[in-house]
């Protein structure tokens, strides 16, 4: 009995994957657990492993092809087995491999299996000479009175959902088309059969064509201690009002300039020991983590109906990669030595650029730091990485003339700007945190206090 190999969801947010390289050839013997292919997800390059043994009978998609999660990519079975039915069947969820994946396509289909039009008032509806948009699928067909205007508002949670007719979905599944990139010409952008006519042979758009998506809610790392605090009324009001004002994340910015002379001296001294180089970034991570420890109000996640205050500090570190950005996490940064942080940061950044991070290495941070100092940026504002409530944007170290004790002196200074989610962090709270951070960096002995 042949087994279907399907594109698996290899990251929490993955909806499709690109087969970067096949690691096995057709005809190769396969043992359960063998790496069949390398797959590029929205975040990383991952391994697609065999869930069943046998012979690789068919590689259904060539290298470089992007396919949606749960779609057939290969077939494993006995040598000489007839698999025409399987291969012709398109995406399937029949084999054991498929069962281990999240049935993304299926859930989507089910969500659209609502009666397509309200049954009542059909006479009025049918006699209307001009076409009018049908209510979107997902809106329950409440009995509408004749003449009542259809519910034109989009269904709740409609954001990323593809609206397509059942036939269009069937065709897409048969031909392996990704409906995400298809423009629908039906009411409210519904994709219908004719919209797929030119799409037949076109590979679905790769990840680069689509903005990387920031997960709405990151999975909670297992066993992490935290404290969920229900929203008070005033907090709800603040959240609502500020969201209306700026939304979706009501962000404000706090900037301060830090004297880095003593940090620079300490760093020079440390590096002079010849046991590896410490960067300003490493020191900033450590200082931020320690400051967060003192200001847990800034070490928190916005969770829509509550705020989660973390008791542990995990710093997300923004790393630029070829076609985007990823934020590997230095866990327990407050408890690690500068050397540990430095080594870990180097390793994570390197692997991030090679896109070889595992999902657990870039999720679960409690606060972010983005540093563009090495690119000669004086100061900037960074975009919050939700559900985290704050991110620190770190500018370059620059020599500046400052007035000190009534005389002008040249000092190495650094400007940092903290972006705060106002639903979680109020102005004074953020300012207090920055004050602590500034004090720590200006007196680096505090790092080892």
């Amino acid at each position: 009995m042949a087994t279907k190999v399907v594109m698996e969801a290899l990251s929490p947010t993955m909806e499709e994957g690109r087969v970067v390289e096949w690691k096995k050839n057709e005809g190769d013997p396969i043992a359960t657990g063998d790496v069949l292919a390398e797959v590029e997800t929205d975040k990383a390059v991952m391994e697609l492993v065999a869930r069943a043994g046998g012979t690789l009978l068919k590689r259904v998609v060539p290298e470089g092809t992007t396919v949606p999660v749960s779609q057939l990519v290969a077939v494993i079975g006995d040598k000489g087995e007839d698999i025409s039915a399987l291969v012709g069947g398109g995406a399937g969820n029949g084999g054991p491999a498929a069962q281990t994946t999240k049935p993304v396509a299926d859930t989507t289909a089910q969500r659209t299996s609502m009666p397509p039009a309200p049954p009542a008032a059909a006479a009025t509806e049918s006699t209307a000479p001009a076409p009018r948009p049908a209510p979107p699928p997902g809106v329950s067909p409440a009995p509408s009175r004749p003449g009542a205007s259809p519910t034109a508002a989009a269904a709740p949670g409609d954001g990323d959902r593809v609206k397509a007719s059942p036939l269009a979905r069937k065709i897409a599944a048969e031909r392996g088309l990704d409906l995400h990139g298809v423009a629908g010409s039906g009411p409210a952008g519904r994709i219908i059969q004719r919209d797929l006519e030119g799409v037949a042979a076109r590979p679905a758009p790769g990840p680069a064509a689509r903005a990387p998506q920031v997960p709405a809610v990151q999975p909670v790392p297992a066993g992490e201690p935290f404290r969920d605090v229900p929203l008070t009324q005033i907090r709800k009001t603040i959240a609502r009002r500020l969201s209306q004002s700026i939304g979706p994340i009501p962000t404000f910015y706090l900037t301060t300039e830090i004297d880095m002379e003593r940090v620079a001296e300490a760093r020079d001294a440390l590096n002079a020991r010849g046991e590896g180089r410490i960067s300003f970034n490493d020191i900033t991570i450590k200082a931020t983590a320690l400051a967060l420890r003192q200001h847990p109000a800034c070490n928190a996640w916005w969770q829509d109906d509550h705020i989660r205050y973390w008791a542990e500090v995990h710093i997300s570190m923004a790393v630029a990669i070829e076609d985007g950005l990823i934020t590997p996490v230095i866990r327990h940064a407050d408890q690690k030595s500068l050397r540990q942080i430095s080594a870990e940061a180097k390793d994570l950044a390197g692997r991030a650029r090679e896109r070889r991070l595992k999902p657990e290495e870039y999720t679960g941070g409690t606060f972010s730091i983005s540093n563009l100092g090495m690119l000669d940026i004086d100061e900037f504002t960074a975009v919050i990485n939700p559900p985290e409530a704050g991110i620190l944007a770190v500018g370059r170290l620059a020599e500046k003339a400052v007035v000190e004790d009534g005389t002008v002196a040249v000092r190495r200074r650094m400007r940092i700007t903290m972006s705060c989610d106002h639903r979680v962090i109020d102005g004074a709270t953020g300012a207090e945190f920055l004050k602590t951070l500034k004090a720590m960096l200006e007196n680096p002995l505090a790092l080892v206090w």
Partner: protein, 326 residues
């Protein structure tokens, strides 16, 4: 093949079946001496005599019950209602007696009777005389509901209904009585429960029955001039519904409009759409749209009456919607 009116095709079926089986008799208001309110029974009294062509008082409940009782003991009555509007007085006999007898007697007593007459609206007959009740009867297990649209179907289906061992609600169209068409001579039987594709096409399915078959065919003709090829499916029998033919057509065209004369709420089309959404869900490229009579009592005024009825323009508008055209 001879060309007959729908009326004469029915007359021929009655004559042939009464000749063939002496258990068959016709009863109702004005069926004998008057020769039928709509002349469907013309000449039958002279041919078969007053015991087999029975003029009744205006007493729908009573003579419907007489028909059921006669059928219970082995006759094969054809009970004519002058129109189905008047049969409302007889619903107790149709629903509580005819439809239930076989079941509540544990299969001992069947009711092989045909209840027939014109249904739906004619012209300017106003609210009490312009009603389509097929969905009422189709709701009832134990009844069969037959609605021919053409002379040939009228003959073939009436003959089958008379030979059927169960009560058959046979709804004709007053506006169809003068429609002409080729009708096979002699033994022409059309099975109950079989729909008919009246026109083939690949772009959209128009499902209809009785008078709306004409409406759908006219709409299809106009659409063809516009490059749209509509398939017209005439249900012919409402219960049992020929879901196979419906699903085959929708599977081919992926778009469907259901046309009926009656009101929309819980109408025949609602049942058809239920079948389609359940068994042809993945074939649909658009929601199925229904064209029905307006959800009001029928007005007398000519313009208002026209606005209340399904017509080709409304069907075409619905087709444009399921085709996502302008």
């Amino acid at each position: 093949m001879p060309t007959l009116t729908y009326r004469d095709a029915l007359n021929q079926a009655l004559r042939e079946e009464m000749t063939r089986d002496d258990r068959v008799f016709l009863m109702g208001e004005e069926v004998g001496v008057y020769q039928g309110a709509y002349k469907v029974s013309r000449g039958l009294l002279e041919e078969f005599g007053p015991m087999r062509v029975v003029d009744t008082p205006i007493t729908e409940l009573g003579f419907a019950g007489v028909g059921v009782g006669a059928a219970m003991v082995g006759l094969r009555p054809i009970v004519e209602f002058m129109t189905w509007n008047f049969a409302l007085l007889a619903v107790d006999q149709l629903v509580n007696s005819a439809a239930k007898m076989r079941y509540m007697s544990g299969g001992q007593v069947g009711v092989p009777a045909v209840f027939r007459g014109p249904g739906g609206a004619a012209l300017q007959l106003a609210a009490q005389h312009s009603q389509a009740f097929e969905s009422w009867y189709a709701h009832i297990p134990g009844l069969k509901v037959v609605m021919p649209a053409t002379p040939a179907d009228a003959k073939g289906l009436l003959k089958s209904a008379i030979r059927d061992d169960d009560p058959v609600i046979f709804i004709e169209g007053e506006m169809l009585y003068n429609v002409k068409g080729e009708v096979p001579e002699g033994e022409h039987l059309i099975p109950i429960g079989r729909a008919d594709v009246k026109r083939e096409g690949g772009d959209v399915t128009l499902i209809c029955h009785s008078k709306t078959v004409t409406v759908a065919l006219k709409a299809a003709e106009q659409l063809a001039g516009d490059g749209v090829h509509a398939e017209v499916v005439d249900l012919r029998t409402i219960r049992p519904l020929d879901t196979e033919t419906v699903l085959a057509s929708v599977g081919k065209t992926h778009r469907c409009v259901v046309v009926e004369e009656g009101w929309s709420f819980a109408g025949v089309g609602a049942q058809v759409v239920d079948v389609i959404q359940r068994d042809a869900f993945d074939e649909l490229d658009a929601p199925v749209i229904r064209v029905t009579g307006a959800d009001v009592p029928m007005p007398y005024n000519k313009q208002l009456e026209k606005a209340a009825k399904a017509d080709p323009a409304k069907v075409i508008a619905a087709v444009n919607r399921v085709l996502y055209r302008g």
